[in-house]
């Protein structure tokens, strides 16, 4: 597996995914949505596993992609 974070489009059916992401938050309070987002981050991070990529992902999310 590559140690490089993928920052080019990589999701098949991007619109479907985005709609699903919004749908899972539907009807939730701000607090419950925040909790869901936090759980989602942890589930996805575990799927990635690779520490180097996770570090790059954190930097990318912080809009500091030069790291």
């Amino acid at each position: 597996m590559s140690d490089q974070l993928t920052l080019s489009p990589n999701i098949d059916g991007a619109d479907d995914f985005y709609a699903e992401l919004l749908a899972v938050h539907e009807g939730l309070s701000k607090e419950d949505s925040d909790a869901l987002n936090a759980r989602l981050i942890l589930v996805l991070a575990n799927q990635i596993g690779n520490r180097a990529i996770l570090t790059q992902a954190l930097a990318a999310a912080a809009l500091k992609p030069e790291v």
Binding site: D34, A35, A38, R39, I41, L42, V43, N46
Partner: protein
């Protein structure tokens, strides 16, 4: 009935030094008779070095305080001749349960590795721990070892000189002066020695209070460590329940920052909290209550000329992970053999600088781990609480999240990677026994490996030839010749050779690996001895 910690164990007695016309010089003075000071004094005395322990008190620890002792300190205590009573009295445990809100989210088993003389952990009240160490001091005295404890002798002034230290000591009968070639300061987190020398002690303050209550109860809770995040009986905070000997249970309740400590300590306020946790029908008696706060910090240097700091006086951590007393004993384990060689003129004084390097490495590791545990247990922002709760919620359903749950990363020995005393690793062996590591124990028939490695430099050969004795620069290294067939369980092979067919290890008096190679190479091992004693 008086508690053990209410009876003077080494009451004040007038000493001839107090009537001497000029200050008497001692070889080593240890300041503080807690677990670390006593450990240092026993270590030196049983190797024939004259040592005086001064303590401002005359009793063992007031209350249970440190209760969780890890395998490595127990191995050190074996070397100091007082490990067995600790293990005999202590409570062994392996299972931990984690609760979140009103439900158990998961439980774990420490699954300690087989083939070690000592268990992963015991729980034992600090007052018993100190009692057994003081008993060991008395035993050494009876054998004629040069060791004494002076109760209610409080150091009130310090003067440092290039080749000695002067101190003024206050007693119930007035003050007197002493001199020492060396001083080991083990006078706790509030260390007066540190203040008197004007040394820094900076770090991170955690704005939180914790109530510790030791209760005596006949309860059918199992011998497990139970940790609650945000329980209904202590909303928004944490709680811990852990068993000690004599039917005593440690209960630790986080209280938050903005509280009235004196009020919270009163039984009429403590008891309802405990009833809410234990249930109304559980009968219990309060043995001891205290409220503590903590910081994570260390001194910039532990060695200041001829004054050496150890234990909480040198570094302070949060209690999560049991890294206080456990790491302090590793300080003096590291220090005493070096000090002995320097005092005997067999090593340069600069060897003591490696105490700083190695134990600061250990302190930083402990501070890092205990700060992270504290950040998980007591989230300091809304988002850190959201993430923490997400981990706990997921851990109830999915195994993957459980390693992220941090209710304390329990103390394990520090490996001195990069120490100037290490020689380059020349064996393609297991990482766990690389240079700098504390030797892992292994079974040897009816006995164990570690007791054979204590107090001296050892050349451990496994299926390899070497001379029985190696003399280098005043250091005598004795060989311990073993074969993988000496351990039918193959733990010795797995822990020291891995895939290598043979191995030769140079092991320090503190049971840490200094060098290892597949075979005995005289020049290489002579150099390794010089390096491990600060002579190269």
């Amino acid at each position: 009935m008086n508690k053990i910690f209410e009876v003077p164990m080494y009451p004040y007695e007038r000493h001839a030094d107090q009537d001497a016309p000029s200050p008497v010089r001692h070889r080593v003075i240890v300041v503080g008779a807690g677990p670390i000071g006593l450990g240092a004094a026993i270590d030196l005395a049983q190797q024939g070095i004259e040592v005086v322990v001064l303590d401002d008190n005359d009793k063992v620890s007031f209350g249970s305080r440190a209760i969780c002792f890890a395998k490595r300190p127990l191995e050190i205590l074996d070397r100091l001749g007082c490990g067995q009573p600790m293990v005999d009295k202590g409570v062994q445990w392996n299972v931990g349960k984690v609760f979140f809100d009103d439900r158990e989210v998961y439980n774990f088993d420490l699954l300690p590795e087989d083939g070690h003389k000592r268990p992963a952990f015991i729980n034992l009240q600090q007052y018993y721990f100190e009692e057994y160490m003081v008993n060991r001091v008395f035993e050494l005295q009876a054998q004629g070892a040069p060791i004494e404890i002076r109760g209610r002798n409080k150091v009130s002034a310090v003067g440092t000189h290039p080749d000695h230290v002067t101190i003024e000591v206050d007693t119930p009968e007035g003050s007197y002066n002493l001199e020492a070639d060396w001083i080991i300061a083990c006078d706790g987190a509030g260390s007066p020695m540190r203040s008197m020398l004007g040394k820094d002690f900076v770090g991170r303050v955690f704005e939180d209070n914790f109530l510790i209550a030791d209760v005596i109860m006949e309860a059918d809770f199992p011998t497990e460590r139970w940790f609650w995040f945000d329980p209904p009986f202590n909303k928004g905070q944490s709680a811990l329940l852990h068993k000690q000997p004599d039917g005593v249970w440690r209960i630790d309740l986080q209280l938050g920052w903005d509280i009235d400590k004196e009020r919270e300590k009163r039984p009429e306020n403590v008891i309802p909290r405990l009833k809410a946790m234990l249930g109304d029908d559980v009968e219990f008696e309060l043995e001891w209550v205290s409220i503590y706060t903590f910081q994570c910090r260390r001194m910039e240097q532990f060695r200041h000329g001829r004054v050496l700091f150890a234990g909480d006086a040198a570094h302070q951590v949060s209690p999560f992970g049991a890294r206080g007393a456990n790491s302090g004993l590793q300080d003096t384990d590291n220090l005493c053999w070096k000090l002995k060689l320097v005092m005997e003129g067999k090593a340069p004084e600069s060897l003591l600088d490696s105490y700083d390097v190695e134990r600061i490495h250990g302190a930083d590791e402990n501070i890092l781990n205990s700060s992270r545990s504290t950040d998980f247990i007591t989230p300091k922002s809304e988002i850190s609480r959201t993430l923490r709760d997400a981990v706990l919620d997921l851990s109830e359903h999915y195994e993957f999240a459980r390693p992220l749950v941090n209710s304390g990363r329990l103390s394990v020995p520090c490996t001195y990677d990069g120490s100037p005393l290490n020689s380059a690793d020349a064996l393609n062996g297991p990482a766990r026994s690389r240079p700098g590591s504390a030797c892992p124990d292994a079974p040897l028939g009816d006995g164990f490996l570690l007791p054979k490695l204590a107090d001296k430099f050892t050349l451990l050969t496994i299926d390899a030839d070497a001379p029985d004795v190696l003399e280098e620069s005043g250091i005598t290294v004795e060989r311990l010749a073993l074969s993988v067939t000496d351990d039918k369980t193959l733990a010795l092979k797995e822990r020291y050779l891995g895939d290598a067919p043979s191995g030769v290890y140079l092991i320090r008096p503190d049971q840490h690996v200094a060098a290892r190679r597949p075979n005995f190479d005289e020049n290489q091992f002579r150099a390794a001895v010089r390096r491990a004693t600060g002579q190269e």
